[in-house]
């Protein structure tokens, strides 16, 4: 009796991944990091391990952004290290995850382009922190940030292959310049990158696709919900005069598909049902409240008038939510890690745990540098929640 295909594919690969998981920094290290009083102390505590080069970089350059760049490289290195052990049929998915990480670099390059081209700011002090080794079909992030015109930017993104997965790219670039807002272009990149990853996951087979959908849907829910809370005008601008197709097109732009609790269909249904009664924004608020992410009564109104009044409450809520969502994400990773050993779940869990590790290091470095204090360092940023983050 031979082994099944997943067993053959994953036996060695997941053993390697488990070995990598066992090398993640222990909680005790983070307790020490959170107590460190300066960047030098934080980096000193990381000496002798895989993050040992951070201290050398900081001592040689005095530049905290160079440390961040190295952390970004460490994030990318995760894929380089794992790729050579990956079973061939699973490679496209691993490349998908890797591409998701590189999406952050793309968004950063777009932000720089936007700053210099639309806002007229100098980006000379920031462009060096785009990693030189990244490119998409030969198009580098530096080229994107340096594009002289929107047309040139569109051409570069087209050459880099983004037109195939970022929805309505040309229109989004045009709108970015017209409205002087990068928001929708970033959303489009996010939507596209998740859609790409989900489509690759579907090709893996039923078990893998289910495991992955479970993990990704948490991730997508987290992004959608925090976006709704951060930017309530996304829904308050929907008025009864909007047609159904207008509303659907808008929701398609602002909600990443694939979430378990806040899917596009669920949001559309809530808006349709609540249109006559409470308005679109509050319908979405109720949907979020019902999603189980928040306790009832915690969510401030998504109506624009309430925004300023409840700004503090909103920030506090986001803070609590980020913590809770991070825990959910880590729990889903732990579940996947201890679940079926012959699925992609172990690898996805490792990516989440590793990403969280790097996030926490970055938070500690920031807290020490900007003097936010140990308490702030102790709260790792919920990377999934920030616009422009990765799995």
């Amino acid at each position: 009796m031979g082994l099944s295909r997943p067993a053959v594919d994953y036996t060695y690969f997941n053993a390697r991944v488990h070995a990598l998981i066992s090398r993640l920094l222990p909680e005790e290290t983070f307790t020490q990091l959170n107590r460190a009083g300066s960047v030098a102390e934080v980096l000193f505590l990381l000496r002798g391990g895989i993050y040992g080069d951070l201290a050398e970089i900081y001592n040689a350059t005095g530049d905290i952004k160079m440390v961040e760049l190295q952390l970004l490289r460490d994030r990318r290195q995760v894929f380089a290290g794992i790729r050579k052990h990956a079973p061939k049929p699973r490679l496209p998915l691993i490349e998908g995850f890797s591409a998701l990480t590189d999406t952050e670099i793309l968004k950063h390059a777009l932000r720089l382009w936007f700053d210099q081209h639309v806002r007229g700011r100098s980006i000379s002090d920031f462009i060096a922190y785009l990693p030189e080794e990244v490119s998409w079909n030969g198009v580098t992030p530096q080229q994107i940030a340096n594009a002289r015109t929107p047309e040139e930017l569109q051409e570069l993104l087209g050459k880099g292959g983004m037109e195939s997965w970022v929805p309505a790219l040309a229109a989004e670039i045009r709108e970015t310049v017209q409205t002087r807002s990068l928001f929708y272009l970033e959303l489009a990149v996010d939507n596209g990158s998740f859609a790409l990853l989900l489509s690759r996951a579907e090709r893996l087979g039923r078990t893998d696709a289910e495991v992955l959908a479970g993990i990704l849907s948490e991730q997508i829910d987290a992004r959608n919900i925090t976006r709704c809370i951060r930017f309530p005008e996304l829904f308050s601008q929907i008025t009864p005069s909007w047609t159904s197709s207008q509303t659907a097109a808008h929701i398609q732009r602002v909600i990443i598909d694939g979430g378990a609790r806040l899917s596009r269909a669920a949001v559309l249904r809530a808006i349709r049902e609540g249109r006559e009664k409470t308005g679109a924004a509050d319908s979405v608020a109720q949907l979020i409240a019902a999603s189980g992410f928040l306790e009832s009564g915690q969510l401030p109104s998504l109506q624009p008038g309430a925004r300023e009044q409840k700004r503090t409450a909103r920030i506090e809520l986001l803070d609590r939510m980020e913590h809770r969502l991070r825990q959910r994400m880590l729990n889903s990773a732990r579940r996947a890690k201890s679940g079926d050993p012959f699925t992609i779940g172990t690898f996805a869990a490792y990516l989440i745990l590793k990403g969280d590790e790097i996030d926490r290091i970055q938070a500690s470095v920031h807290a020490a540098y900007y003097g936010a204090g140990p308490a702030a360092a102790g709260k790792a940023p919920a990377s999934s929640l920030k616009e422009g983050s990765r799995l």
Binding site: A40, N59, G62, I64, I123, A128, Q142, Q143
Partner: protein
């Protein structure tokens, strides 16, 4: 031969408060006392519970905790500064216990904060230089795309090239205005008296065009076409930018050095502060074990018995007759749990790798056998038999010596150093057994002193003593006999341990007790006789009854005797107990038989590994022999030897360890002891 851990004695002493501090420092200096917490052991020490107070009482407990945490934080920070600057940490042995100064924690904290702020200031300057390097590098990369400098910008480049005229007095304004941007500015040499404007070439990033244009307007720049003298400037421009990058990098290096020098300059002060803090921590750690009354301090701890005289002398010299000392010998005081007595395994340094192997299993309990010396002999014997090649052994010996030489400075506790020594020992053992088997890198360059392992495995006989060892079965027989000897030795050691603990029931009825030994020897003798008869006849009935049956029957007494001694509820035997006694007896016998059989057969792996070693070499010889090219053939042999050394070396090492842990130690080893750790300054820094 040291077969037992060093004898220990417990000292309990009462001294006056006024003498406690000096005496604590003296004891720290001597570094011989493994303190026990007096308050937690009041009853063990024969004191009335609650009669003593802690040195850190409840009222000042919190304050004391904060003080300790402050000490620990400051020490960590000092160590960080020193190590970050590549400076060694001070050694604890450099601490002077007669120093009366107490660390001024606030002052030390302020100095460290100041140092951190000074270093941060340098880092900020470094950051500015780093950004300059980034800007220049970006420009250099852009210029590299040019064939030569003209207004025509090559594809993929994001720079603007422009020429213009600018007044003499405004040139420096233009220069300083361009500083935040990646830009290259070149002007003609000095102007003649009748010229008032420099022709200037400016290369900048297109993205900065708007801001640079505003700057050019301010300095009244007049655009012109690029003059011919500026063409062909690429080499000069690239050279100049490279020079500026090199200068910035040099400045960066100087700044990094100056940050380091800030710490270097403070090194003596930091080291002194470290010593003060460390001394404070050590004294505090000792005092926390003390108990106090209004007038006196009581402390207690374990000391090797041979140091009793020295300890008494130190105390008497320090406090004179103002003390009361009480010595307790654990051997004479049955109320002391032997697991609470620390264990000092004191062996020659040369045996440290084997002590390491023993400690990895467990720390022997005080009073039981410390098997380090025995393991040295048996481990090397097992390894040698599995890895019997003098050439391969010599390679291991060399590797082991090199590794231990490289790690010598890391201190005796360094794992790599211990591993290096172990590898060297194993290599030496393999050289000896290799000579016995006449095997040198698989070749028989010298005749075997015992038998020809290669010859037997390849079917060509056993060399000069074929009558003794002539087949693989003979080799298997040797290893089984070796296993029997090891197991018997293990049972004997267990009997010694039980005897010393006065565990008479265990001495007789334990699996590894006298009855077990009787049963095992009888069974083994019967098995050997059966094999010697060509598997045709068992020993006679009376012999079997006497050697195997009788000890087996006597095991029936074990359960009733245990019931009488340790029985729950009542210690009498009732009728209802009998079926369970019989059941226990049957299970016990089955377990005894299967465990002894499997343990003995387990030693056949020694022959298995040895045969595998020879077979692998034979295979590589055959592969090399079938290759026509002599060079390739030699390469295969070298690679083959390397593979065998690594693979078999690892296997033999692990299997020898396994045989010790599972077949040898399990017979007699009483673990769960605790290691002797005196508070001392003599540890490596």
């Amino acid at each position: 031969m040291i077969l037992f851990p060093q004898r220990m004695q417990r000292l309990s002493a009462v001294v006056l408060h006024a003498d406690a501090d000096v005496l604590t420092r003296k004891l720290l200096d001597a570094g011989i006392m493994d303190f026990i917490d007096v308050l937690e052991n009041e009853e063990n020490l024969g004191l009335k519970s609650g009669s003593l107070r802690s040195a850190g009482t409840a009222e000042n407990g919190q304050q004391s905790g904060e003080h300790e945490s402050q000490l620990s934080d400051l020490r960590r920070r000092i160590e960080m500064f020193l190590q970050d600057a590549g400076l060694p940490l001070p050694r604890e042995s450099s601490i002077r216990t007669d120093s009366r100064s107490t660390p001024d924690l606030e002052r030390i904290g302020r100095r460290l904060d100041q140092l951190a702020a000074d270093i941060q200031q340098v880092r900020d300057s470094q950051q500015a230089v780093q950004q300059e390097i980034h800007r220049l590098t970006e420009l250099q990369n852009q210029l590299a795309l040019f064939g030569d400098i003209t207004e025509i910008v090559p594809a993929g480049s994001y720079v603007d090239v422009q020429a213009g005229l600018i007044g003499k007095s405004r040139y420096s304004s233009l220069q300083s205005g361009l500083k935040p941007y990646p830009a290259y500015l070149h002007r003609s040499p000095e102007l003649s008296d009748d010229q008032y404007e420099y022709p200037v070439l400016l290369i900048s990033m297109s993205r900065d065009r708007q801001r640079i244009d505003e700057l050019l307007d301010r300095v009244q720049w007049k655009s012109i076409t690029v003059p011919p003298e500026f063409r062909g400037l690429k080499g000069e421009a690239v050279g100049e930018i490279s020079g500026r990058i090199a200068a910035a990098k040099k400045r960066q290096k100087e700044l990094a050095d100056s940050a380091r020098n800030l710490t270097v300059k403070l090194q003596p002060e930091l080291e002194e502060a470290w010593r003060e803090i460390r001394l404070g921590q050590l004294l505090r750690s000792m005092e926390l074990h003390y108990g106090t009354t209004r007038e006196t301090v009581l402390f207690s701890g374990w000391i090797p018995a041979r140091l009793r005289g020295q300890t008494e002398r130190i105390i008497r010299e320090t406090v004179g007759d103002r003390c009361a000392l009480e010595w307790t010998e654990p051997e004479k005081n049955r109320s002391i749990d032997s697991s609470q007595v620390p264990v000092l395994m004191e062996h020659k340094r040369i045996l440290l790798p084997f002590q390491w192997l023993v400690q990895n299993y467990s720390i022997p309990r005080y009073g039981s056998i410390d098997p380090t010396v025995l393991v040295t002999v048996t481990y090397l014997l097992m390894f040698g038999l599995m890895f019997g090649d003098a050439g391969h052994g010599a390679v291991l010996l060399l590797v082991g010596l090199l590794l231990s030489r490289r790690r010598r400075s890391a201190g005796e506790n360094d794992t790599a150093l211990k591993l290096g020594k172990l590898i060297a020992w194993c290599g030496a053992a393999a050289v000896v057994t290799g000579a016995l088997f006449g095997s040198y890198f698989g070749y028989s360059w010298l005749p075997p002193l015992w038998f020809d392992y290669h010859g037997i495995v390849s079917g060509h006989g056993g060399g000069s003593s074929p009558a003794l060892v002539s087949s693989i079965y003979d080799i298997l027989g040797i290893t089984i006999r070796f296993g029997v000897a090891v197991i018997v030795f293990g049972i004997a050691l267990n009997c010694v341990n039980r005897f010393r603990r006065r565990d008479w029931l265990g001495l007789v009825f334990d699996h590894g007790g006298l009855l077990g030994l009787w049963f095992y020897l009888g069974g083994t003798a019967a098995a050997f006789q059966f094999v010697a008869s060509g598997y045709s006849s068992l020993p006679s009935g009376p012999q079997l009854v006497l050697t195997v049956g009788l000890p087996a029957l006597l095991f029936l007494l074990k359960a009733p005797l245990e019931q009488l001694r340790h029985g729950e509820g009542s210690r009498s035997i009732r009728l209802k107990h009998i079926p369970s006694f019989i059941m226990e007896w049957v299970v016990e016998l089955l377990e005894l038989f299967t465990s002894y059989l499997s343990n003995t057969l387990s030693f056949m792996r020694i022959a298995g590994l040895g045969i595998a070693h020879v077979s692998l070499m034979t295979a590589f010889f055959q592969i090399a022999g079938s290759i026509a090219s002599p060079a390739a053939s030699v390469a295969v042999l070298i690679a083959g030897n390397a593979v065998v050394i690594v693979l078999e070396g690892l296997s033999a090492g692990i299997q020898a360890l396994r045989l010790h842990y599972y077949e040898f130690f399990s017979r007699y080893f009483s673990g769960s002891g605790r290691i002797y750790r005196p508070v001392s300054l003599r540890r490596a820094g």
